[in-house]
């Protein structure tokens, strides 16, 4: 197979006595969705925060395209093509939906040390923001202030903003959580269409979505990867059934 776009080796994170990440090894291959599942408090969000560079691991190493990024701060990792969405949405609440996307476009383009030219009339920013919003079905909400969005719309906007950085790998922290059925199906369609261009590490509790989307699945329990394999392998794995999927029942 081809080389992993994201390779994690021996990652460790302690919070005092608690081991939130316990020697995690993980590979995400180009063109694939790698799902990361696990019970509440397993350490999924903590792992993503370390991959994104927001949280410093106590040990181990992370490589992007074969080059280690351990020393890079979060912003520099984005420039290398790594983007994330947040489980608890983290947007600019006082800004319009359009401006939330436009600022991501602006930063991707560089040129933020411009002090006197009007940026709100910059078609390069507005235009791309609106195209991206239209593609996500949010065009009608472009002028709305983020604070007025529904939960589902915020989740969708998180994805649009992350994509505006033009990532090659996306870390998605529960993008379906709290979405209605129709919204979830829409999200699944969107992610499936994306995956040929953008590899993904998908943290998700919705097992239906996971089994529909994932090329590989890793199971995290108490910070440790207890199993990793294809969807079928994971479905059959006795240890996973015991620890996570609920012994004896059908998955999901």
């Amino acid at each position: 197979m081809n080389a992993p776009i994201l390779a994690v080796r021996g990652l460790v994170k302690h919070f005092g006595g608690l081991i939130a990440t316990d020697s995690v090894d993980l590979d995400v291959l180009p063109g694939q969705i790698h799902a990361l599942i696990g019970p509440n408090g397993a350490g999924k969000t903590t792992l993503i925060a370390q991959l994104a560079g927001e949280l410093r691991p106590n040990g181990g190493s992370i490589a992007l395209d074969g080059r280690t990024i351990d020393a890079l701060p979060a912003a520099a990792r984005v420039a290398r093509g790594l983007a994330r969405t947040f489980q608890i949405t983290c947007l600019l609440p006082d800004c319009s939906v359009r401006d939330n996307v436009a600022i991501a476009v602006q930063i991707r383009q560089g040129h933020s040390f411009r002090f006197l030219r009007n940026a709100h009339r910059d078609e390069g920013l507005r235009g791309e923001a609106e195209t991206r919003l239209a593609a996500a079905g949010l065009a009608g909400r472009a002028d709305e202030i983020v604070a007025n969005l529904s939960h589902g719309e915020r989740k969708q906007l998180e994805l649009v903003v992350a994509l505006a950085t033009r990532p090659r790998i996306l870390l998605l922290d529960e993008p379906m959580a709290g979405l209605g059925h129709a919204e979830s199906q829409q999200m699944i369609k969107t992610l499936r269409a994306l995956k040929k261009d953008v590899a993904m590490l998908l943290v998700e509790h919705d097992m239906e979505a996971v089994f529909q989307l994932a090329d590989r699945i890793s199971v995290l329990v108490y910070g440790r990867v207890i199993a990793s394999g294809t969807a079928d392998e994971i479905r059959r794995d006795p240890e996973v059934r015991k620890a996570y999927l609920g012994d004896g029942d059908e998955a999901c």
Partner: protein, 328 residues
């Protein structure tokens, strides 16, 4: 929204016309002191609006902006002192009384000071940032108090306002018009600035640094640039104030001055273009009205500030907008 888009520049132009006519009006009304009061409002308006760049747009609560205000004033004062005595500063910088030199020099030096103070302070955030900016400003305050060569405690008297080619700066009205011209240029630049790409970044950083990092923004250099710009604006105001009062003193750097600038920003409307200017007007008007009634005038200002914070949701600017019946 469309009304306010059209209305804002119209109001600004009307206010400008009024300010241009003011010395004549004040003269006609037999209130020549009014011109001086408005000059102070303009100067503090520049300083408060500069503070607002970091405080209101960037969300960085600097409690030390009087430092840059004071440095701007002392640049004018010290250059004047060397001009008057004839011996160069540090043995090689000749003194000068030319505003076209002293004003840029004041902006430059206060910008450099902001670069140093900002570079160190911006490694912290929240309450720590407030305290460290305050500490730096107080250090500079005591530095100027101890500089006996430049008047120490008593400050530095500037016998004549800086000269400007073809203008008679001994005339108070001319000084007023120079202040008005600088203020106008300053607010035109600021108006461009708040709609720029850089301001987009600042706006984002205020709302969520985490989000900005997640879309690839290295925050520190942008915050530092904003801090330097803000310091330069405060320095410009300080230089004007030194010319207007013909005096520079450690009081300009005292922490209470930083507090006053903050009060003006909050009174006028945090994160708005003209709010700080309105705040400066309200503050200085209150000061002169209340001070004539009671020596405890600051108590009155405090109570009004409390009212503004609790009830107006955005200062005088927002209050006026609501009274006129439109929202931004």
């Amino acid at each position: 929204m469309s009304i306010s888009k059209l209305g804002r520049p119209l109001i600004a132009l009307a206010v400008l016309a009024l300010l241009i006519a003011l010395p004549l009006l004040a003269e006609a009304m037999g209130q020549p002191a009014l011109t001086s009061m408005v000059a102070r409002i303009l100067i503090y308006g520049i300083a408060a609006a500069s503070l607002n760049i970091v405080l209101g747009y960037g969300g960085m609560v600097s409690f030390g902006h009087a430092a840059f205000f004071g440095i701007g004033g002392y640049v004018v004062g010290i250059l004047y002192a060397h001009h008057a005595s004839g011996d160069p500063l540090l043995g090689f910088i000749p003194g000068t009384n030319q505003l076209l030199i002293t004003l840029p020099a004041a902006i430059l030096v206060s910008g450099l000071a902001a670069l140093v103070i900002g570079a160190l302070s911006l490694r912290t955030s929240g309450v720590q940032f407030i305290m460290i900016t305050l500490a730096f400003a107080q250090m500079l305050f005591f530095l100027f108090v101890s500089l006996k060569a430049y008047g120490g405690d008593d400050g530095l008297i500037i016998r004549r306002a800086n000269e400007v080619p073809w203008l008679n700066m001994r005339d108070k009205q001319t000084v007023y018009y120079v202040c008005l011209a600088v203020t106008t240029v300053f607010f035109i630049l600021l108006w461009r600035f708040v709609n720029s790409r850089f301001a987009n970044v600042l706006n984002g950083l205020r709302q969520s640094e985490k989000r900005m990092a997640a879309i690839g923004l290295p925050a520190y250099r942008y915050k530092l640039a904003a801090f330097v710009i803000s310091g330069m604006g405060a320095g410009c105001a300080g230089a004007l104030m030194a010319n207007f009062l013909r005096f520079a003193s450690p009081d300009m750097l005292h922490w209470t001055k930083s507090g006053e600038l903050m009060v003006m920003v909050i009174l006028g409307g945090v994160g708005t273009l003209f709010g700080p200017l309105a705040g400066a007007a309200v503050y200085i008007a209150l000061e002169s009205i209340l001070a004539s009634w009671t020596e405890y005038w600051q108590l009155g200002v405090g109570m009004i500030l409390l009212f503004v914070v609790l009830y107006t949701h955005g200062g005088v600017q927002a209050l006026a907008q609501r009274l006129v019946g439109r929202q931004t």
